[in-house]
């Protein structure tokens, strides 16, 4: 184990994984309860398109993806508000645009398919120190925002209309939630890949929702499950030579299955 922890790439993966998974799990609770579970999926499709743009223009894809995915998150919000679309229809529109752009650019640019498709499955073991520091900084900043606006987030999750009449700036809080989700999806892409980002957002929160422990308790359990699955996923995948992203997601699913069993029999 000491030898395992002495590897630089393992240290980086564990540190980044800890923060990213905690953030995903906390945000996931709000998204699931607001019927926005699939926003992660939609934004990860946009990430695919923006990574293609980054590779095409020879920019570091991470930096290109963040602003584009943030803009897309706001686009989903506006489509819902202005075009009066139901949540998942707006997500579907933006997701299709993202994936179509990615496929189109990779076809036109011809020759970077291997680079692009490596992002589909991610690899937390290849994360570099810059990405680790960005992940730590943004995760701490977002967890602080969630704590600071906890009551507002809880209120609009429970009943947006009443929250508005109580003077909560619903638009500001929603914008904050969508933007945080966008950045988190880009961060999580490195951990589990574009195709599996949704799992990091949804599975820990639906697991936590099986244990009735109050709203704060649900956030805590969700974070615990998320962190546990990422850390154990990294360890297990290293020793058994398995793909890390998929191992993390399958462990998350196992925890979810256990929570259903627990709820049924205890």
């Amino acid at each position: 184990m000491v030898e395992f922890l002495s590897h630089g790439f393992i240290q980086k993966a564990l540190i980044a994984g800890f923060f990213i998974s905690m953030l995903c799990s906390m945000l996931g609770v709000f998204l699931v309860l607001r019927n926005l579970s699939l926003i992660g999926d939609g934004l990860s499709h946009v990430t695919f398109g923006s990574i293609a743009i980054g590779i095409w223009f020879k920019f570091y894809p991470f930096y290109i993806a963040i602003p584009i995915v943030m803009a897309s998150a706001l686009g989903i919000m506006k489509l819902k508000e202005k075009a009066r679309l139901f949540g998942d229809a707006a997500i579907g529109i933006v997701a299709s645009l993202g994936i179509a752009s990615g496929v189109f650019i990779s076809s036109v640019a011809n020759g970077f398919n291997i680079d692009l498709f490596s992002y589909l499955f991610g690899n937390i073991l290849s994360i570099n120190w810059t990405e680790v520091f960005i992940s730590i900084f943004l995760s701490i900043a977002f967890i602080f925002l969630i704590s600071f606006f906890y009551q507002e987030l809880l209120f609009i999750t429970f009943d947006e209309e009443s929250a508005r009449v109580s003077g909560v700036n619903v638009k500001r809080i929603n914008t904050m939630l969508y933007l945080m989700t966008a950045v988190t999806v880009v961060l999580a892409m490195k951990a589990v890949g574009i195709l599996l980002v949704t799992a990091l957002l949804i599975l820990p929160s639906v697991t936590a929702l099986q244990f009735s422990k109050g709203f704060k308790g649900t956030l805590f359990i969700s974070s615990f499950v998320g962190v546990l699955s990422v850390i154990s996923g990294i360890v297990i995948s290293f020793f058994l030579d398995l793909p890390t992203g998929a191992t993390i997601v399958l462990l998350n699913f196992l925890f979810f299955a256990f929570s259903l069993f627990y709820k049924r029999f205890f």
Partner: protein
């Protein structure tokens, strides 16, 4: 401007797309009033409340709360609101009753929104008043419809609002709880001069408590006391003697329109 009025609605028009829902609505409400808004389904009652609470903006006319236009109004802590919403979809919502009620305190808080000892005492007082103190640690999703409604009323009251707006709050309540609910509202209205606006179909019970009644059917058909409605010849002419009699003699407006339709 218009300080003596808690609420002033001035010639308000509102349409959804091209479908006109409210036209030329005007009325004032003084502090300490208890207004019942009644009318058939689709008469614009909920739309009016949504205009009053600033959730919708009138296409013409203005709504003033405490002398301020709703879209400029900032003191939302002065208002308690219980919307018409089907909370049965919240069966899996993980919050406890105390967490839901605490949300009602949010509009008074400025920076860090913690819940402190005096807040807990106020919450306990209202939970006790509504007979649900023992449910404090329960999950909202575990409660019956009537219990949920009382929790939501506690949330609307915990801020001790000057204006309480209730959109069909009686639907999920059994007759006994309904009476208790009215007693609580009457206490707030009489002892604390809380102004109350309530949308209801239950003209039977509301007539005993409300100081005024607004009969809405996309426009104001009647605004005045319940007694003056029953004695109004204009209303007899508008509704017919039979329907007016039904409204005044404690029936439910939903039944009234069904019956008067059959009656011809």
């Amino acid at each position: 401007m218009m300080d003596e009025n808690v609420l002033s609605v001035k010639d308000v028009y509102f349409s959804y797309n091209s479908f006109e829902v409210l036209s030329g609505i005007s009325f004032d409400l003084k502090k300490g009033s208890f207004l019942a808004i009644v009318g058939p389904n689709g008469s614009g009652k909920t739309t009016l409340v949504r205009l009053i609470t600033g959730l919708l903006k009138p296409q013409r006319g203005d709504v003033y709360i405490f002398g301020e236009r709703t879209f400029l109004f900032k003191d939302w802590y002065r208002i308690g609101y219980l919307p018409q919403k089907n909370y049965f979809s919240e069966n899996h919502f993980p919050a406890k009753v105390k967490e839901i009620v605490a949300l009602g305190l949010l509009s008074k808080k400025r920076s860090w929104k913690g819940i402190y000892r005096p807040d807990l005492k106020t919450m306990d007082r209202y939970l006790d008043l509504l007979g649900i103190l023992d449910l404090k640690e329960k999950f909202f999703g575990e409660l019956s419809g009537g219990q949920r409604q009382r929790v939501l009323l506690a949330k609307a009251l915990v801020n001790e609002p000057e204006l309480l707006i209730l959109d069909e709050p009686l639907a999920a309540l059994d007759p006994e709880t309904r009476e208790k609910f009215f007693d609580i509202l009457e206490g707030l209205n009489k002892k604390k001069s809380t102004t109350i606006i309530m949308i209801t179909h239950d003209t039977g019970t509301i007539g005993r408590y409300a100081s005024s009644m607004l009969y809405l059917d996309k426009r104001v058909i009647f605004f005045g006391t319940f007694q003056s409605f029953c004695e109004s010849e204009a209303m007899t002419e508008y509704f017919g003697e039979y329907t007016q009699h039904l409204i005044c003699h404690r029936h439910n407006t939903e039944d009234i329109f069904r019956k008067s339709y059959k009656h011809g």
